[in-house]
């Protein structure tokens, strides 16, 4: 009984009828009415003449997803992606907010670039784009970014992602300074002197394939260093894309010690292993690299037992000609926004509510967005929602992705579950699996 989306909302708003709401409070079979960007009522709602009704029988109504880690490539690398195409991909994946990584050109280390990114996101109107800042100017690892200045325009998360901060002393100062301001520093853990020229995980596979390897220790050393710096300074740290068993173990121990450490993991690190590189296809080249089955299982366990707080996509678009270069010349990175839920649902042995938590309210808290995203589906809350088909099986066709690029590694992976509708501030930006703008 769903009717076509009108450009002007009826006075009775939009009613999502027949679905199951899942949020931080639990699971319940209620209808939801959205009016003027907020949730106006929940319960057993009859249709007013004036409401637009969307039948969501058999579907799940949940707070929209929040991605802690997306590369939107704009400004500077727009052949791969723009803020608009990236936002559309995010909305189709069920995301109502994304944290945009700062390794753009120019870097997100000053107010003007941050404001540019935010306003591009606003005009696209598909997703809330929250720029992160870099830790060091130009991500060069030498001079600290003006944290307070960026915080004053709403930046909460800072990272040099793409690289880790190599200088231990500098990282300590950054934590002390930014921690005092209540900001969160996020680390791409990679000791660069151990990964020169590396193309894949260092192990048996790379020995046979004759490729330079990225040892697990290169990640674990920096995970350990940052945990100890947190212990020293008391400032919080968020660890990006954990990929090794030992990294997960280190974080588990840090949390047991009560340290303010949070962590994320990507869908590809819970579903793909280094053996994929046997085809030498650069679609499988990523930093940190795909690891062994033992690492994949440890990361899955970490997500299930709460050691890892969130799933984050590390969505990294690259144009086809870049990914068709020989493996060592191709840039690392994979798409992730549109497939994240489908991969996570297929590979994690988790209750749907726990999974939604990993993608919604838990990353919202880390990103400092918990006042607007990941909220309970209750009267008065902002209407940033996703309506999910939780169990439908599907496969991804790279030619039909909204992203400007096509570098998804999941074309022959069976996916489970997908966003059907996405609401941003009460507006349906995705209806029936298609973007409305």
């Amino acid at each position: 009984m769903s009717e076509r989306v009108e450009s002007v909302q009826p006075r009775g708003g939009t009613v999502l009828r027949g679905g199951t709401v899942i949020d931080v409070a639990g699971e319940r079979r209620v209808d939801v009415r959205l009016v003027d960007g907020r949730i106006a009522e929940t319960g057993d709602l009859s249709a007013d003449g004036d409401a637009e009704v969307i039948d969501v029988t058999g579907l799940v109504v949940a707070p929209g997803f929040v991605d802690l880690h997306t590369h939107l490539r704009e400004p500077g690398m727009t052949e791969a992606e723009t803020i608009e195409t990236g936002s559309r991909a995010a909305a189709l994946g069920g995301y109502t907010a994304v944290v945009a990584m700062p390794n753009t050109d120019p870097t997100q280390d000053c107010v003007s670039v941050v404001e540019f990114v935010r306003s591009q996101g606003r005009s696209a109107g598909l997703c809330d784009v929250h720029p992160s800042g870099s830790i060091t100017v130009g991500r060069a690892g030498e001079q600290l970014t003006p944290f307070a200045e960026l915080a004053s325009v709403g930046v909460h998360l800072f990272t040099d992602d793409g690289s880790g901060v190599q200088d231990d002393g500098l990282m300590r100062r950054a934590l002390e300074y930014a921690g005092e301001l209540g900001l969160v520093l996020a680390q791409h853990c990679e000791v660069s002197s151990m990964t020169t020229g590396a193309v894949m995980h260092e192990g048996e596979c790379c020995s046979h394939l004759g490729l330079p390897g990225w040892p697990a220790l290169a990640e674990e050393l920096m995970v350990h260093r940052d945990i100890e710096l947190v212990r020293l300074t008391g400032a919080p740290v968020h660890l990006l894309h954990l990929s090794t068993a030992r990294s997960v173990a280190l974080v588990r121990a840090a949390k047991a010690d009560g340290l303010p450490v949070t962590a994320e993991a990507t869908p590809h690190h819970i579903s793909l292993t280094d053996e994929r590189l046997g085809s030498f296809d650069p679609l499988f080249k990523v930093n940190p690299p795909l690891r062994t089955m033992a690492d994949v299982e440890a990361v899955r366990d970490g997500l299930v037992d709460g050691t890892i707080d969130a799933i984050a996509t590390d969505h990294a678009p690259h144009p086809p000609q870049a990914k068709e270069r020989p493996l060592d010349a191709a840039p690392p990175g994979m798409l992730g926004l549109e497939t994240a839920f489908g991969v996570a649902r297929a590979y994690l042995d988790l209750e749907l509510r726990e999974l939604i938590g990993l993608m919604s309210w838990r990353p919202a808290a880390i990103a400092g967005l918990a006042d607007r995203h990941g909220r309970p589906v209750e009267t008065g809350e902002p209407a940033n929602l996703v309506v999910l088909d939780p169990d439908g099986r599907w496969t991804v066709d790279p030619g039909r992705l909204a992203s400007r690029s096509t570098n998804t590694p999941f074309t022959d992976v069976p996916l489970v579950g997908r966003a059907r509708h996405t609401f941003l501030h009460g507006v349906a930006v995705v209806r029936d699996g298609a973007a409305t703008r």
Binding site: S207, L209, G210, L211, E324, L327
Partner: protein
Amino acid sequence: MDTRRHLRGIGDLDRAALERLLDLTDHMAEVGRRANPKVPALRGRTVCNLFFEDSTRTRMSFDTAAKRLSADTMTLAVGSSSVNKGESLRDTVETLGAMGVDAFVVRHRSSGVPWRIAEWTEASVINAGDGWHQHPTQALLDLYTIRSERARRLGEDAGFEGLRVGVIGDIRHSRVARSLTEALGLLGAVVVHIGPRTLMPPTPLARSTDDLDGELEDLDVVYLLRMQNERMDAALIPSGEEYTRRFALDPQRAGRLGEHVLVMHPGPMNRGVEITVDPTTLPGAVVTTQVTNGIAARMAVLFDLLGGVETEVSA
């Protein structure tokens, strides 16, 4: 079922296929001894040499092999610095393929390129060396050399089963070592890798040791790898002198080799680095034979992929 076949790595062969190629090499070696060393077997076929890495010797060896089979050849020799400026690897392959190429012979400094090229063409793909990964025709000519030279010295069919081969040097960065080790493994030979830990792959591909002197007297074949200058720059070994002292075939070590032990090298040799004796004084040195056999081995591969080999036909 895809009937097109490739030789991208030793992994594309099983034991039977490898032995068949060695037997075919015998035929091709005989062709090479004729007054007119040319047969019309691949007339009308086109072989394209795609060499993205400088290598005059290997390229000429393949070119000669194709011509001796009466195939037409084309060569695209691109210096390593001008690769991928504008026209992508894929575009290059697809354009050349449209000109009617039956086989690509590919050398590239990046591991895996022959596998990628095989995705973009209907032609057969022959790997002439990809990064540190594989160099299957080198392994083939090395195996053929071992077989024929041992037959000459020890009598008919000395065989590979239990043969003890020491590969010495920079295994980590050596496609020759990887292909040879894999091929010898297929035939039941026993391989030991000898060199410093920093020049071994992260996980071993064969029994590995740094004790050359301890292994030397137990070897039937000593295979020396070329030691490249870049390794000395990259702090993988302290100096060339250290390497030579610990791992070179010097006069003292050469003197301790058994009577019929073969000494091999993929070439070109760094005299004074991995070898400090004059190889012409070593009865077991078969390096020039390796080069001759290279043409025959490559002819065998080309004929096998483009000529069709299955069961016998009657006249």
